[in-house]
């Protein structure tokens, strides 16, 4: 069995999930300081990819990153290459697909932190960064961890956006879900079966862990 698509999927998913984790935490922390109305606008934008068809998202990204656009030029200046039809494009695709899941799980965890704890920490001399590290993270880590797992599960299976902006170039941008598609089209049922089974199992495990974490309400110290 050719392991390249599987390894690429793993690489893309790990990198995209790591980036979603960092950017997501920054956004959640920033949004948690906003008034509810503004926060809901952020929530809407951050979770919009869930409601849009992947092909539509992919198409827009294609338009934005197409060769010769301003963004393409900036990207080229920064990284020396265009984004479209490279494996980092698959990372961007997975990030966009996975971000809403992280946000939807981590945001309520932050919103659930009693405001008076934050106020108490402020009067005890803590900076916002210290409050984030010493109060918010420990109290919201379950939501954050759960969101990360869900994001990873989603990134593993990303198909539509990836196809649009990274293409389906075997050995270069062909991730496991795209490889399955090719196997099915070319009639290679056994290869499709084994790859599909691996993805299904991985997705199931990460989703299960994510849901299990988010549903366990009681903390050790609250029992």
């Amino acid at each position: 069995m050719n392991l390249t698509p599987l390894l690429l999927t793993l690489k893309v998913s790990i990198i995209s999930t790591a980036l979603v984790f960092i950017l997501g935490l920054l956004l959640v922390e920033a949004a948690s300081r906003l008034a509810l109305r503004t926060r809901n606008v952020v929530r809407l934008i951050a979770t919009l990819p869930l409601a849009l068809p992947p092909t539509v998202l992919g198409y827009y990204l294609l338009v934005v990153f197409a060769r010769g656009t301003v963004i393409d030029k900036v990207f080229k200046a920064l990284f020396g290459t265009s984004l479209i039809f490279t494996w980092p494009a698959a990372v961007v695709a997975s990030m966009i697909a996975a971000f809403p899941l992280f946000f939807m799980t981590a945001m309520p965890a932050f919103e659930g932190i009693d405001k008076s704890l934050i106020n108490a920490a402020k009067t005890l001399g803590k900076t916002n960064w210290q409050i984030f590290r010493q109060v918010k993270l420990p109290l919201a880590w379950r939501g954050i961890a759960s969101g990360t797992l869900l994001a990873f599960a989603r990134a593993l299976g990303e198909f539509g956006i990836t196809l649009m902006i990274a293409g389906n170039i075997p050995g270069k941008t062909q991730t496991a879900p795209l490889a399955i598609y090719d196997f099915v089209v070319s009639g290679n049922r056994s290869a499709a079966n084994s790859l599909a089974a691996i993805l299904a199992l991985a997705g199931f495990i990460f989703l299960f862990l994510g849901i299990w974490l988010s549903q366990r309400r009681r903390y050790k110290f609250q029992r």
């Binding site: 009693d114 008076s116 704890l117 106020n119 108490a120 920490a121 402020k122 009067t123 005890l124 001399g125 803590k126 900076t127 010493q134 109060v135 420990p138 109290l139 903390y219 110290f221 609250q222 029992r223």
Partner: protein, 394 residues
């Protein structure tokens, strides 16, 4: 020295807190929703006033003119929130140590130990807040606030969540803290008894405004208007006009009864006035008692129409014989339980009450609070607010 003069407009509320205090125990007293907690939050820097100035000691925390607004972390104000706000993920000792910085582990440990001892929390250091009692939570919160050696200590309704035995202990703890730390303590409460017991200075606040500020005994016996009178439990509050002045004695007609209030040079015939007398200052006289010479003014016959026992005291409702009010009673009288038992008032169909001239406190009748509709006047939360409704509002 604490100087507060701030304004902040909220969508449905306007805070205009202004008071100066130069003592160690200041109690901000008022009904729920009066703006007490907001005032504390402004002091701590958790909300930013629209305009004004806040000074604590020799330091200015906020000044809208110079644009100064120190963030809460730089103010060093110990703030014990209403529900204590202990960090659930930290143990008692970790909670207490939370605000310490720049110390070695050993120095932290010894400071925390000292606090544990002071606040009687030894043995609980490794326990999470969810597992300790209300009183222990409060002492943990106090220890956490005090360990940073604050310039002032703010307490938001410190007694409200505790049962009476624990309240008594907290009172002792607070007086110990008062002795040990040379800092002003500002406490918010809507409980009159606690306010009076603890306050060196009281600040009466209602609907975002400070109505009166001063020594608690002054406020108790000399409220500046009927709202304050009602808040401090004067109970018997009336309005009337100056009927006549003879031999230096001013007589006020409330429409229901006429009463002498002694010499008041500032009043002249026809002036509208408000006055109050505290329920413990109304004397009950049995009909068989021979009155001494000179006790003949301000005597009113009537009936006791209601009695409610309060353990150590007894509240009587008294209806004037010639009552013109459509209320059930005209006066509220408070007697110590032993005096009530000795008087055996139930044996007498009619009794007489006497209003001591010295105990009658007069304030101007036309205060803003006076012109508010009754429905908008909030109670003090005691549930026993017997404000006169008709006698005084004719």
């Amino acid at each position: 020295m604490i100087k507060v003069d701030i304004q902040k407009v909220f969508p449905k509320f306007k805070l205009q807190a202004k008071f100066t205090a130069d003592c160690k125990m200041i109690v901000i007293f008022g009904p729920s929703g009066a703006g007490k907690s907001l005032t504390l939050q402004a002091l701590a820097g958790l909300i930013k006033p629209d305009a004004g100035r806040i000074r604590v000691g020799d330091q200015t925390f906020f000044d809208s003119e110079t644009g100064l607004n120190q963030p809460p972390r730089q103010r060093r104000i110990g703030y014990v929130l209403q529900e204590y706000a202990l960090f659930p993920h930290l143990t008692v000792a970790e909670n207490i140590a939370f605000g310490l910085k720049g110390l070695t582990r050993w120095a932290k440990r010894s400071k925390v130990d000292e606090m544990l001892k002071l606040m009687r929390l030894q043995g609980l250091e490794d326990i999470y807040p969810a597992k300790i009692s209300g009183g222990q939570k409060q002492r943990t919160a106090l220890a956490r606030a005090l360990i940073i050696e604050p310039k002032a200590l703010l307490l938001d309704e410190p007694f409200s969540a505790l049962d009476s035995a624990v309240r008594e202990k907290l009172r002792l703890d607070l007086s110990q803290i008062k002795q040990q730390y040379d800092i002003p303590i500002i406490m918010v409460t809507h409980n009159l008894e606690e306010a009076y017991q603890l306050a060196e200075q009281m600040v009466i606040i209602d609907e975002g405004r400070v109505l009166q500020s001063g020594k608690s005994s002054d406020i108790f016996y000399h409220p500046i208007n009927r709202t304050v009178a009602r808040f401090v439990g004067a109970k018997n509050i009336f309005t009337g006009y100056v009927f006549k002045i003879t031999n230096g004695d001013t007589v006020i007609d409330t429409g229901g009864f006429k009463t002498t209030i002694g010499t008041r040079s500032e009043l002249s015939v026809g002036d509208k006035v408000g006055f109050c007398i505290r329920p413990e200052d109304v004397m009950v006289i049995r009909p068989d008692k021979v009155l001494g010479f000179g006790v003949k003014k301000n005597l009113f016959p009537g009936r006791i129409v209601g009695t409610s026992h309060r353990g150590d005291s007894c509240l009587l409702q008294f209806k004037l014989e010639k009552s013109v009010s459509n209320r059930d009673f005209d006066f509220t009288i408070k007697l110590p339980a032993h005096a009530y038992q000795r008087l055996e008032l139930h044996k007498y169909p009619t009794v007489t009450v006497s209003l001591k001239k010295q105990a009658i406190h007069v304030f101007g009748a036309d205060t803003t609070a006076d012109n508010r509709p009754l429905t908008a006047v909030k109670g003090t939360g005691s549930g026993n607010d017997s404000r006169p409704r008709t006698v005084d509002r004719r």
